[in-house]
């Protein structure tokens, strides 16, 4: 059994901490008076510094110390939080990442520059009211603290002495080492820690300041803090409330990242929810590749089960069938459990855009609010990873081209601050990610002119709005009059299109002049195993993703004959175009006497697929197409059937688009 490399674990947890620090800073930037966020950022920096020192990242610890000190001053009311300070620490945070990733690199010069910026921000922010605050003598409370660190603390690199030093910094302190648990030398494991400490601390700081001292060593430690008395009757309410009569052991948390998690507050701009209590102690961190491995194994099991099911079905052996059904049920449950394990909330994905928007607002001189919704929506982790780049392009585009300058917005009677809404929701086996802005909208005339000029469409071509908007995803297409360093080169939107296509997703664009535009990405929830509908067309078998199937109908020979040339069926008073897969795949076979129409849809668009036989539902383990078949648009992948044959998986988005195109041509032809 292999144990994880502690440095790698530190890097992972530090990355999470940096994300939390960044989120806290961005929240603080919106509401500079938010004390909870100040505390959260301070805790994050404090934890990062301590953990960095513990794991030998001395440069990181030394650098972070300055930022921590700056935020400590903000916390104590000596310096107000300002946007300059937030920006300085955000930049410093990026540098911390570099110090973590390449600790041996030459970072000194960059560190100096950033620390100079930080000092300037702190000096510039000095609070005129601080002098008044300093003039009043805050009430002090006597705390009795008893703590013991985990027995393996020293072996894990934790030195208790800096903790004691930090307690001394909080006020008048009497520290007594309790050595009564130290065993005799012959029984001693000398790397274990058997000393605990009793501390009496007279301080004006709240209990949370004491807890902060231990924030990155709370794992399994015992910490009792009792407020004994306040020195002044005029003590502030917050101090009074600290003076609880009984000890309050601090709950141990599992990892340092969890320990640094912000206490509560959701951003004013963030939709509520997602504030579940931290149950880190019930979580286990698993490397993503292990999940991928497990997923592969489950995939193989599903295929083997499918073979067993086929054998059992053909054997007539009732006992074998019963076992086969049990295995089918269990493998289905295992698959579902596996799917849940792979699902991660999009919050992680969305959080990175807050920084992006912050930076873009700075670069463009625009005031931009990012609103996020549906952050708890869960998506397969591999989908999340691949969505990041397209979303960056779309958000950049909204910031740079979509939103107007403050002057333009004022002139248009809009609020000065532009808004970008990033939302996620689940809908029938898909996650819908929407990027909506309240900017100027897409200029249809300019899109058309550009498309005609570049030969993408013939002059005067009749296109629906959606078809016209889809042109912006063509390679090299840009209507931007100016190429900025953000966007306008026409590379980016085609990346969005390619990535979403590869994810078997679809893109919908809506725009209203002067009111803004909305781009929706509909992506399958998972890329690994899906429920499929197995059908036969000619001699070949194909899988249609079940989430896209609306209904199945019978297409009699008479109806088939009647619809020749038109390829429409009437479905509850509406005409639905259909595609004969036998023709599309050129099977060269005769149609079955009772063909079936499988009606599939993506959002509002529907199309029927004529097949020879519907075989039934099928757990489909998706295998990627080979490079040779990479550009075959009709299929999104392949799967292995129970008998070892390969079935191709139909690309629903492509087929619906083809059906709609066929409909448009037929309508145009009258």
């Amino acid at each position: 059994m292999s144990f994880p490399d502690p440095i790698a674990v530190f890097r992972t947890e530090a990355a999470e901490l940096l994300e939390q620090i960044e989120a806290g800073l961005l929240d603080l930037n919106v509401n500079l008076g938010d004390k909870d966020q100040v505390d959260a950022v301070f805790r994050g920096l404090h934890t990062l510094k301590g953990s960095g020192a513990m794991f030998g990242f001395d440069a990181l610890a030394a650098f972070t110390h300055h930022c921590e000190t700056a935020f400590d001053r903000v916390r104590k009311g000596e310096v107000p939080a300002t946007q300059e300070l937030v920006t300085a620490v955000l930049e410093a945070k990026d540098h911390m990442r570099a110090l973590i990733e390449t600790p041996a690199g030459d970072h000194e010069a960059a560190s100096e520059v950033l620390l100079a910026n930080l000092r300037a921000a702190v000096e510039g922010a000095k609070n005129p009211g601080a002098a008044q605050t300093a003039g009043t003598v805050p009430a002090k409370t006597l705390f009795k603290i008893r703590f013991s660190l985990p027995q393996n603390a020293m072996a894990n690199g934790t030195n208790p002495l800096p903790l004691l030093d930090e307690l001394r910094e909080l006020g008048e302190c009497k520290i007594v080492a309790d050595r009564s648990a130290i065993p005799s030398l012959d029984l001693l494991t000398p790397t274990d820690l058997h000393i605990s400490w009793d501390v009496e601390l007279l301080t004006a700081q709240p209990r949370s300041a004491i807890e902060d001292v231990f924030i990155f060593v709370m794992d399994e430690m015992q910490l009792d803090i009792t407020a004994v008395e306040a020195t002044a009757p005029a003590a502030r309410a917050s101090v009074k409330s600290e003076a609880a009569p009984s000890p309050q052991p601090v709950a141990a948390t599992q990892d340092m990242a969890a320990a640094a998690r912000a206490p509560t507050p959701a951003s004013a701009l963030t939709a509520p929810a997602d504030t579940k209590p931290n149950k880190a102690s019930e979580n286990v961190r698993v490397p993503a590749e292990k999940l991928d491995e497990l997923m592969d194994r489950v995939g193989e099991l599903v295929i083997a089960q499918s073979r067993l099911s086929q054998l059992a079905g053909g054997s007539g052996d009732l006992q074998l069938r019963a076992v086969s059904e049990d295995v089918e049920r269990l493998s289905g449950e295992l698959r579902d459990t596996m799917m849940v394990l792979r699902m991660v909330p999009v919050a992680h994905l969305f959080s990175r855009f807050r920084r992006l928007v912050h930076d873009l607002a700075h670069e463009t001189g625009k005031t931009i609010e990012l609103i996020t919704e549906g952050e708890s929506t869960e998506v397969d982790k591999s989908v999340i990873e691949r969505l990041a780049d397209p979303l960056v392009h779309l958000v950049r585009n909204s910031c740079d081209h979509g939103l107007e300058t403050p002057e333009e917005r004022r002139a248009a009677g809009k609020p000065e601050a532009g808004r970008i809404l990033l939302s996620a929701r689940q809908q029938a086996g898909e996650v819908i990610i929407t990027i909506k802005d309240d900017g100027r909208g897409i200029n249809k005339d300019r899109v058309r002119a550009k498309a005609e000029a570049s030969g993408l469409i013939p002059s005067g071509a009749s296109l629906t709005d959606n078809e016209l908007y889809q042109l912006i995803f063509q390679p090299g297409f840009s209507t931007a009059q100016q190429v900025t360093n953000l966007s306008g080169r026409g590379v980016g939107m085609d990346v969005v299109k390619r990535t979403i296509d590869a994810l078997r997703g679809t893109i919908n664009v809506a725009s209203h002049p002067g009111q803004g535009s909305e781009i929706s990405l509909a992506i399958p929830l998972t890329l690994a195993i899906i429920d499929g509908l197995l059908v036969r067309v000619g001699a070949g078998r194909y899988v249609i993703p079940l989430s896209a199937v609306e209904e199945c109908l019978e297409l009699s020979i008479e109806e088939d004959m009647r619809s020749r040339g038109r390829s429409f069926i009437s479905l509850r008073d509406s005409l639905v175009p259909f595609l004969r897969l036998r023709d599309l795949f050129r099977t060269g076979t005769k149609p079955d006497p009772f063909q079936k129409v499988v009606v599939i849809s993506t959002g509002a668009e529907r199309v029927g697929l004529v097949v020879d036989q519907i075989i039934g539902d099928h757990q489909t383990v998706i295998k990627a197409m080979s490079k040779l078949h990479h550009d075959v648009a009709t299929f999104s992948g392949a799967t292995i059937l129970g008998d070892g044959d390969v079935a191709l998986i139909l690309d629903v988005g492509h087929l619906v688009a083809e059906g709609q195109q066929q409909e448009a041509h037929l309508r145009a032809a009258g």
Binding site: M154, A155, N159, P160, L161, L164, D165, K174, I175, V176, A177, R179, I182, P183, S184, L185, D186, L187, L188, P190, T191, L193, H194, I195, W197, V199
Partner: protein, 109 residues
């Protein structure tokens, strides 16, 4: 072969007395106590020390005491060792015996 009643030469500890080397130091001191009725420990001025060493010496005192043997420092704690005793809160609430051992106050143990 009989064991000597008193080890004349003090045992000089290595320079590194931190958690990284403490297991080896424990082994050395354990053997010394086992072999001798009295053990004197010398700590260099420029040693690196952390709380694990203080704990080790406390454990050694318990072991020696239960075996009816004697352990002492060649001179009162100073420099880094005294600093760790202070920072670690060991000086606070020291018993007379503790003070005798660590600081040589009122004779040796």
């Amino acid at each position: 072969m009989s064991t000597p009643d008193f080890k004349e030469d003090p045992f000089q500890l290595p320079q590194n007395l931190t958690v990284r080397t403490i297991s080896a130091v424990r082994q050395e001191i354990l053997q010394l106590i086992d072999k001798n009725k009295s053990t004197t420990i010398e700590i260099t001025d420029d040693c690196q020390v952390d709380i694990s060493f203080i704990q080790l010496m406390e454990a050694a005192r318990i072991y020696a005491g239960s075996a009816g043997k004697h352990i002492a420092l060649t001179r009162p704690a100073s420099g880094p060792v005294l600093d760790i005793l202070k920072r670690g809160g060991v000086l606070e609430g020291m018993s007379d015996d503790d003070a005798k051992f660590w600081l040589h106050q009122r004779g040796t143990q």
